[in-house]
């Protein structure tokens, strides 16, 4: 028997495979395709202080081995989440983690406080890639001091596991990792999307209504792997790796690079059952290579 379980922070995972925020809705739509209880966890989409309509259409552009999105945190706000969504998803037999977003530190704190009350949510994932309205729109996650500040403010009101999700659009990801650990992060997840642009040459127009958007998918995997490796060397908190994972081999690469668990995002759009296949593939890999526990793979690069 291969042991796929692991503990990161206080989170008990059945296996290291989780879903990435914004790519899995609230899990509901996936129930036609897979048994949610087979996953290590699901991270539901961003929740903000109040309703957001998100950006105008078009919000999507396909790119080589990837896609750009500019959804823009569309959600009905934290109160709606607590009242309407939570009751439905709280009994999924897996870790339900809420991705918390905001435009100001106060908004992050307000959302985190309310999610803190939800018994069946064992952790939040702080999405610090959001533009900071008080700082000319630079993302919280691109300035170390701001990243520390927002993390620390949320830390004060949030008692359970605090995952902070890093933006890759920075010069030094290690510095950002240290900044959020300083702020009190229990776990780091990365990477969020890379800022990109698509242009329609025939129409001579940007494809996205917002001009730029977030790049995800296999195209970014080499960058994500590098950052996960750098972060796992730079800090001592557990790391959740993501960025372009399409199959079990990709997931194992992230674990070898130093991630304790992984999240799968864009791949879910192409194969909504992919996460379960990844769980099975990791188990098969352990069997083939004679590892009795997936924990033995974490950071397990030979040199």
């Amino acid at each position: 028997m291969i042991d796929l379980t692991l503990k990161i922070g206080h989170l008990n995972l059945k296996n290291p495979v989780m879903t990435a925020s914004g790519t899995f809705g609230y899990g509901e739509e996936y129930r036609d395709f897979l048994d949610l209880s087979r996953l290590g966890g699901i991270v539901v989409k961003a929740v903000t202080g109040s309703n957001r309509d998100g950006n105008a259409y078009p919000r999507m552009a396909e790119t080589p081995s990837g896609m750009l999105n500019s959804v823009g945190l569309q959600n009905k706000g934290v109160d709606h989440f607590v009242k309407e969504i939570y009751p439905v998803i709280k009994d999924f037999n897996t870790n339900v983690i809420v991705n918390v977003s905001g435009s100001t530190i106060e908004e992050y704190v307000a959302v985190a406080e309310k999610i803190n009350e939800l018994e069946k949510v064992p952790a939040i994932e702080l999405n610090i890639s959001c533009p900071n309205v008080k700082h000319g729109g630079m993302a919280f996650g691109t300035i170390p001091a701001t990243a520390t500040e927002v993390t620390a403010a949320v830390r004060k009101v949030y008692q359970k596991d605090l995952i902070v999700k890093l933006s890759p659009n920075v010069t030094s990801i290690q510095e950002m990792a240290k900044a959020v650990v300083d702020g009190g992060a229990d776990i780091i997840s990365l990477i969020n999307t890379l800022l990109g642009m698509a242009i329609d040459a025939d129409k001579r127009k940007p494809v996205l209504s917002t001009l730029t958007g977030g790049l995800s998918g296999p195209a970014i995997k080499p960058i994500a792997l590098r950052m996960v490796w750098q972060v796992s060397k730079a800090v001592h908190v557990p790391v959740i790796g993501m960025g372009g994972i399409m199959n079990a081999t990709d997931a194992i690469e992230f674990i070898l690079a130093g991630a304790s668990a992984v999240q799968v995002g864009t791949a879910n759009f192409i194969d909504p059952a992919v996460t379960v296949k990844i769980v099975e593939g990791i188990e098969a890999y352990c069997r083939l290579h004679k590892f009795s526990s997936v924990k033995e793979l974490i950071g397990g690069l030979n040199s």
């Binding site: 996936y30 105008a56 999507m60 999105n69 569309q74 864009t266």
Partner: protein
């Protein structure tokens, strides 16, 4: 109450090339198909096409319940559709379906279906479905020129077929929106419309002016097709709605067109 969505490897039963830009793929399932409704679509996984990363959405063009098969009418636009056009009978294709809502039952017995270009795709299935319910179907389709017209006979089995061609080589010259049917005083209980956005908006405009109920089918670009990415939204009078879930069929009132 929505039908469960499935992911199946379906077999290409036919690949009929209508002209150098359009073809029909008939896909057959080994097991009984779930119920499919006109207006619904599928998401195909295009194999072996390096520049096609995401699935590709196509409306259900015809549904053959007896043979567990359905058809797609596909226009070659880029690499994904080009690859699909080369599929051979017997090859397999991974398909997610059925997706989206569907056209609704008309409030009366007289309806007009308007399609432009490849926008006719869902209208054949719709026309047959309406006819089975004893609705009197008139179908108006617009084309560039006579040589482009395909499947006229199939549509004629659903009802009267009216045609416009831009060069006047068949039917009335000009665009569908200029067809005399709209000036004929003839009344319809609903117009169903499918095609380029600009054409649908023009038809919606006529419908509104004439006080006719109208449903259109949108083709927003999609990443997932099953409601999770929020990329395909359209603004409606009750907020942003997902074209792949709350649509692709909307009443023009919802859209505020």
């Amino acid at each position: 109450m929505s039908v469960k969505k499935v992911l199946h490897d379906l077999v290409v039963a036919k690949n009929i090339h209508l002209n150098n830009r359009h073809f029909i793929l008939e896909l057959q399932a080994p097991e009984p198909l779930p119920g499919l409704l006109p207006g619904q679509f599928v998401q195909l996984l295009v194999n072996d096409s390096p520049s096609t990363f995401l699935r590709r959405p196509f409306s259900i063009h015809a549904f053959d319940e007896v043979n567990n098969a359905f058809r797609l009418l596909i226009q070659i636009k880029g690499e994904g559709t080009r690859h699909l056009s080369h599929l051979k009978v017997g090859e397999k294709l991974n398909v997610m379906y059925p997706l989206g809502n569907s056209f609704s039952r008309p409030p009366g017995k007289e309806v007009l279906l308007v399609g432009g270009g490849c926008g006719v795709a869902p209208l054949l299935f719709l026309g047959k479905w309406l006819k089975e319910q004893d609705v009197n179907v008139t179908l108006l389709t617009g084309w560039k020129r006579k040589e482009d017209i395909f499947e006229k006979e199939a549509y004629q089995q659903c009802g009267e077929v009216l045609i416009t061609t831009e060069d006047g080589s068949e039917g009335e010259p000009g665009m569908v929106t200029g067809h005399s049917i709209f000036k004929s005083g003839r009344n319809f209980d609903r117009i169903y419309c499918c095609g380029p956005d600009r054409m649908m908006k023009a038809v919606a405009h006529i419908a509104t002016r004439r006080g006719i109920d109208c449903e259109v089918s949108l083709e927003n670009t999609m990443a997932c097709g099953f409601g999770v990415c929020l990329c395909c939204i359209t603004p409606t009078n009750h907020g942003n709605q997902r074209v792949c879930m709350e649509g692709p069929v909307f009443s023009i009132k919802e859209l505020g067109w």
